[in-house]
Symmetry: C2
Subunit: 388 residues, 2 copies
Amino acid sequence: MAERTSEVVVIGGGLIGLAIAWRLAADGIQVTVCDPTPGSRTSAVAAGMLAPVTEVEYGEDELLALNLASVAAWPDFAAELESLTGQSAGLNRTGTLSVAYDVDDAAALRRLADYQRRLGLDVEELSGREARKREPLLAAGVSGGVWVPGDHSVDNRQAVSALLRATELTGVQLERQQVARVLTAGTTAVGVELEDGSTIRSSQIVAATGPWSAQLKGIPEELRPPVRPVKGEVLRLRVPEAYRPALHHTVRATTRGFSVYLVPRPGGELVVGATTSELGYDTRVLAGGVFSLLRDARMVLPITDELELVETVAGLRPATPDNAPILGPSGLDGLLWATGHYRNGVLLTPVTASLIAETVQTGTVPDLAAPFLVSRFATGEVMPKVAR
Amino acid sequence: MAERTSEVVVIGGGLIGLAIAWRLAADGIQVTVCDPTPGSRTSAVAAGMLAPVTEVEYGEDELLALNLASVAAWPDFAAELESLTGQSAGLNRTGTLSVAYDVDDAAALRRLADYQRRLGLDVEELSGREARKREPLLAAGVSGGVWVPGDHSVDNRQAVSALLRATELTGVQLERQQVARVLTAGTTAVGVELEDGSTIRSSQIVAATGPWSAQLKGIPEELRPPVRPVKGEVLRLRVPEAYRPALHHTVRATTRGFSVYLVPRPGGELVVGATTSELGYDTRVLAGGVFSLLRDARMVLPITDELELVETVAGLRPATPDNAPILGPSGLDGLLWATGHYRNGVLLTPVTASLIAETVQTGTVPDLAAPFLVSRFATGEVMPKVAR
């Protein structure tokens, strides 16, 4: 079988893998990305919210810092991508309006706003009337809101398309095959074997394998990352010309305890997401998932009923035990992880690309990435002590 | 431009048009069917219920007689089609269970059952418990039911496929083009012009043009049939192996005044229908339509939530002012209507094919078809007096 070499091999051509490859190739490094269908799975299903503030969770301060760094990095990242490719990177700087349906929802939203303010985040509490002033088509029942000017969104499919073009223009080799296994010599990763049996030798391998990370073959059992798939269903609606724009901003809503978000795109698309189910690698779109999204969306935006349902789709989020990504050394020399981004893959694309590119080139882990080493999940002697 | 001839031209290759063409060709008549995409519109969207009893409406006795004749004709029609083609015609003789959700729904169902019994139809009233005995997955809240052993269903897509094959085997010419206009000489139809400008001369034309009947060009304004499109959305769900069969019979339900039906297919498909909207020729699937179908289906069959949503689709029913079809002479010599079947196209396919084939061959309208002449809609002198 043929044997090739590449300075860096990136396993997985989702947004994360493509962005890392582009960053490295732009620095003159020879990169090969292996993916049978790049950008077609998790990265194609996402709604693309850049929501470090609205999605902040109590007690996840280090993740918040990473998320804020990445939302701040998006405008330059998008501009560079657009100037290279001539394509839109899909960034929509619309701000986000969180709204509450009933009084319990409003109380929960206020508590979160208090927390967000204590963290120094830019949020503004609104009455129901003020919320409807920003978004006139919201239901009369909306009882309150929080305006978050810094949370935006990205059309993830445009971003995939621009990144594919950017990797092409910077000379990244795209190998449209599944990686069958990582090849090792002792405790060092030395390349990958593809599904056709051919191999690519490489001294630097980046696994951007998302929900399939724990399944990557050739990694010793004890070094497998604790990444599991969490299914999410998403709807894509089309707003007729006469009603555009149905929404001006991303709207997150809590309706009787249920969460739903509505992300408008400039062309009239409205993305509604997302369910959360622990069903392994099942990507069937279930009737109950579609029902709950429509139920919640029409409760806050009644005109939802009049919009065309263009697409129903399900994808898999790469989840970790602490909801934060896994970045950097794997315990096998020559293999880095860039995975576990859970709900924040689109958001974390720019910062992940920078951090991993820096780690590849310097051999050291930048401070911002340090809290996200896989070794944080080590129990006893099984997980490796990773050099920093 | 080329000029061809055909003893009979059928405009429209839906179930009705294909069945008429097959019947005529089987009798040795040379037939051409014109349709750019046969079987792909209304006939592909339908759920395929054969429901003369469960869908009976107060005061539609002549339509009931026609419907009963056609449900009685389906077994032989299917058997003949299957023996000719070696394909299934899609007939599923499962019977139908009508169920009611709340007490108001149950009262309405009982009133209808009384009416059905007075008409001599075979119906059996059931308690909620008896209904659940027939269909164990029905919701505990189902408060009553009516068992209708003679109402069945047809997999309309299988029927289309078998009829396409049958027309092929009997030498029907399929012209995959839109008819641009009917050609006339005085008050006689003499052929059709196709969209490429070519013509087919024929002394017998059958317009099986469904929701597009009033748009058929070349027909004098005053002879246009009062057929309008009524949009319906339909869902196709997939029952996982472990839950099959989720239903043994067609289930019709009234849930808080809303109607929904669930039609199981042997392969695990479950068809849920149908919305009713007067939106012209709009065939967008609207979020509100999908929502209402899911809401009602899961209320009577809670396991709906766990089924895969495979397809959402909208089609157009050819509706008439009295909900009955338009069969036979059009007022133009040489042009017959076979249209306006509204919600009963699949059901009425066998009887329509027989009646129209007989009219073509004998020049007279059979008694069963007599109530369904277009002339019943005549106002003053505008509508023609049609010879019988």
